[in-house]
């Protein structure tokens, strides 16, 4: 039970170790170890000691219709993302095209998850760093109305997920072909008033976070996100990168590869050997021309220019996406008419299917091989946090020189703030990990 900012000095001369025993306000368990020798940063290891969770192995031998219930359990914060990537991949095998109102409903439930997940991070996990508190709950003592607004925004996202999915953590209705139940129009309309309040609150939130004091820090990023011809991406699109890469989702494994490092239970993913960034900042940078004008105006009013290159501005991108998700869900609710059936009929056939969707923290890749009985024979899952891990380590390397004159404890706290910019979901990344805590002296 090592605490935040616990540091230790090494016995060896001129060598100093900055360590964070347990990174606070992230989902899952991780630690950081930095070695500095003769004033220069030697090693930066983001250690994920969350135990390995073997989901890809659990999926083998299970029936395809159990997959949404199983993969949801990879992450309590973003279960819909796992369900969406899974059902899209399996629908590809069965030749199903989910369109119209069913597709809209999938976007709406995804909006709910973005709102819930982003609001949690903005208000309860990251804002305390900028305002100088240990937690959102502690922040509420001085900023009750702000925290209350954040919790109500989060609740609005949860309300969408609960209506469409039965509950917000591990929703139950998502299935291959559609949903087990779809709402009546009047049920969705019942959300409208709260979503309208939330939209105004989201505009306020963008203004609020844009006014924070940010360190000058602009590393050179490669952003990666989905891109769709007309939409801000959720479930569909090609994979594009700031490098000019533009590939179909099927080509992911030819360009991106996962590799293992000895100190972490999460695999690292690289694009042609180099780290890259996924998530809200990457999405806004690559897809801002797909945002509605109303959202773009709010972004323009902040005075920030695109592309956003400071990772600390992730909180702005996340707030912009809360606003977008509210605009989008309101738009889709207004045009909703109940589909004739909650799901399409399924004909099982053998094959391999691939899908990639935009989880709150970035692209989430799934590949499944299914046999003629509908049984999963092979599964591969690449979560966003294992993609960002290399990028986080590089940012820490770049950021560390400016805090080396501080005490170990202060330097460790500064590193934790950098890590939190990415909203890492460590539970997700451990298909996933256990770290060897080498505390060599």
């Amino acid at each position: 039970m090592e605490g935040t900012g616990q540091t230790k000095s090494e016995g060896e001369k001129n060598t100093r170790t900055i360590a964070v025993g347990t990174i606070a306000r992230v989902e899952g368990e991780g630690a950081l170890r930095v070695t500095v020798k003769d004033g220069r940063v030697q090693d930066v290891e983001l250690k994920i000691f969350e135990p390995p969770r073997f989901f890809e192995a659990f999926l083998q031998g299970r029936h395809y219709d159990e997959v949404p219930d199983i993969v949801a359990r990879i992450c309590g914060i973003c279960p819909v993302a796992y369900q969406m990537s899974a059902v899209h991949a399996i629908e590809q095998i069965f030749g199903l095209h989910v369109d119209g109102a069913l597709r809209d409903l999938r976007r709406v439930i995804y909006c709910g998850e973005w709102i819930e997940s982003h609001a949690l991070h903005v208000f309860m996990l990251q804002a305390p760093d900028f305002l100088g508190y240990e937690s959102g709950i502690a922040m509420a003592k001085d900023h009750a109305s702000l925290v209350t607004r954040g919790l109500r925004l989060k609740k609005a996202g949860n309300a969408i997920m609960t209506l469409l999915g039965g509950r917000s953590v591990h929703p139950v209705s998502v299935k291959v072909g559609g949903f087990s139940r779809v709402p009546f129009r009047r049920e969705l309309e019942g959300l409208r008033d709260e979503l309208l309040w939330a939209r105004d609150a989201a505009v306020e939130t963008v203004r609020w976070v844009a006014g924070f004091e940010y360190p000058e820090f602009t590393p050179d990023y490669t952003c990666v996100a989905l891109r769709h011809p007309d939409e801000y991406p959720f479930n569909k699109g090609r994979i594009v990168a700031g490098t000019g890469l533009d590939i179909s989702v099927d080509e992911f494994e030819r360009h991106f590869s996962e590799h293992q490092v000895s100190y972490s239970n999460a695999l690292h993913c690289t694009l042609q050997g180099a780290p890259y960034l996924v998530g809200p900042l990457a999405r806004v940078n690559l897809n801002h021309d797909r945002l509605p004008q109303a959202v773009m105006r709010v972004l323009a009013d902040t005075g920030l220019s695109l592309p956003l290159r400071n990772p600390f501005h992730g909180i702005v991108a996340r707030s912009i996406e809360i606003l977008y998700a509210l605009e989008e869900s309101l738009r889709l609710i207004d045009r909703y008419e109940s589909p004739s059936a909650p799901s399409l009929p399924v004909t099982v056939r053998a094959g391999t299917g691939i899908a990639c969707t935009e989880a709150p923290r970035g692209i989430l890749y799934h590949r499944y091989r299914v046999d003629g009985d509908g049984v999963i024979r092979e599964a591969k899952i690449v979560p966003p946090t294992s993609q960002n891990q290399g990028r986080i380590e590089q940012d820490l390397r770049l950021f560390l020189p400016r805090v080396l004159d501080r005490s170990n404890e202060e330097a460790a706290l500064a590193c934790e703030r950098v890590i939190r910019c990415y909203d890492p979901c460590i539970s997700c990344a451990t298909h996933f990990l256990k770290l060897d805590m080498t505390q060599d002296a």
Binding site: R25, P51, K434
Partner: protein, 274 residues
Amino acid sequence: MPKCDAEKNQPKLGVFKFTSCDGCQLSLLNLEDDLLALGQALDIAYFPEASSKMNPGPYDLALVEGAITTEEDAHRIRSVREQTKVLVTIGACATSGGIQALRNWADVDSFKQVVYPSPHYIHSLKTSTPISEHVHVDFELWGCPIDKGQLLRVITDLLAGVQPQVPVESVCLECKRRGNVCVMVAKGLACLGPVTRAGCGAICPSMGRDCYGCFGPTEGARKGPGFPPNTTSLANYFHSGLQLIPVDVLRRFRGINGYASSFKQESERWDKKT
């Protein structure tokens, strides 16, 4: 059962995570309307997912999420127990071993090879076990995830010095109260509702699908009063009435709470028939 000191101004709360998805801790944060009041009633001394403040024990109340899957964690839970007056497990992983217990019927070394290119870096136990196999647990809250209303009730009961109680009847009763049409009778779905404990509000049948047992078996399956649910009768009906082949019957019981004893026994009975 030991009591939290209700007279104490702010009893100390610790929230501890083991192998899990964070969903049950999130259920605590999802108490949006009551979270700030909870923060006043309790001293949230250790809750790394939500706070940088990580104060050492002793704790009046520990909420424990997740199963035990590593040697280190088997030691850590003993240390948590030593520092804690009332220990409550939250969720399927902590209470029955959860979905991670699927490894208990498999070869973990081969799992490592499926997931990791260099399996020798990975340290993990061959089993995923509930907290109660390692230390004494004062109260178990079932669910994957737990129901946040039940969580709030358990916390407030404990703060008031009252023995917490949650319903131990089956999901069928919640379904009837909600006025649902039975999905097993009407649609022929292999619903686990008759053997699964209530608490979720019969979410799955209300959403037009079969219950998949995420609140665990009804009372008696692990300990306490009552009898184990009649899983055998239900499993036989899945097979002879609903025409499920043995491996499908097995999969029904070997899921989110597959390592809870009555579900475990039932799946192993069908394992012999596949």
